[in-house]
Amino acid sequence: MADSLNAYLYVGAILFALGMLGVLVRRSLIVVLLSMELMLQGVNLTMGAFGVFNEDMGGYMLTLASLTIAASESVVGLAILVVVSRKARELYTDRMDGMKW
């Protein structure tokens, strides 16, 4: 089981799907951001597994890149969150609908 690629992919898929569920259904902005990190966990796992099982360093590279992006993304995302929190006390996604038309 531990030496089967499919098993890792399953876990990655589940993590990704759960993350997406969190992004879609949670009202709290910070939890949405957390869920995105969760999705990235799934992605990292998948890519890492491909790298190991295909004996290719490319997988490692992609995982590293994904890590970098996750870091940048969370930094910027949290900065935006701070700004938003200054404008409006509430950080519920369904109350932020100014960006339309």
């Binding site: 949670r26 709290s28 360093m57 930094v75 910027v76």
Partner: protein, 205 residues
């Protein structure tokens, strides 16, 4: 055998923690659950002998990103308020089926995916890595040769994001400009003796 047991443990806990991340009401607990996920994903990396990834995963995610999250949560004093629903009701009926659909698709793909044939694989099998002295060395070998440019770009990206974060999070009243006049308000010209108190020339909604 022991590997299989370890794998199952890591996978099950990771998935359960992930569920908790998504479903738990309090943001702090959500973040802490994510830490659990991160550690167990690192465990999974370890199971497949990707030690470097396991370590860096723990360092970056658990050590940096999630700590940042926790700081933010505490700094802004974010907590779940009683009476506020924590789920987006309308999205629930869209999100759950979509997530299930995605899972089915991804699962289907995972089921039908096999490692490449021996010939098509890369050069870095376990033996080669061991020869180089572990995944760290192997990674460095590739990263600083073949992937130097992406590496540098990642550095620039990090710089840009930290500058951007600084800029965004800065307080706006530090160096504010005086208000510019609003052109739309100025509808009456100088020689409008009989203009009836700024009659709307432009349509207002």
């Amino acid at each position: 055998m022991i590997e299989d047991i370890t794998f199952v443990y890591m996978a099950v806990i990771a998935v359960l923690a992930a569920l908790a991340t998504v479903l738990v009401r309090s943001p702090v607990r959500s973040a802490l659950s994510l830490v659990v996920v991160v550690f167990h994903v690192a465990g999974l990396f370890a199971v497949m002998d990707a030690m470097f990834l396991a370590v860096i995963q723990v360092m970056v995610y658990a050590g940096a990103i999630i700590v940042l999250f926790l700081f933010t949560i505490m700094l802004l004093d974010l907590r779940h308020e009683a009476g506020e629903p924590y789920l987006h009701k309308n999205q629930l009926w869209l999100g759950i089926p979509l997530a299930i659909l995605l899972l089915v698709e991804a699962g289907w793909i995972a089921l039908n995916t096999e490692p490449l044939a021996e010939a098509a694989r890369g050069a870095y099998d376990a033996a080669a890595i061991a020869e180089l002295g572990g995944t760290g060395q192997a990674l460095a070998e590739v990263l600083f040769n073949e992937y130097l440019l992406p590496f540098e770009i990642a550095g620039v990206l990090l710089l840009a994001s930290s500058v951007g974060a600084l800029l965004l999070a800065r307080r706006p009243d530090e160096d504010k400009l005086p208000d510019a006049p609003d052109p739309v308000d100025d509808v009456t010209g100088p020689d409008d003796e009989r203009a009836e108190g700024g009659a709307a020339i432009w349509p207002t909604r």
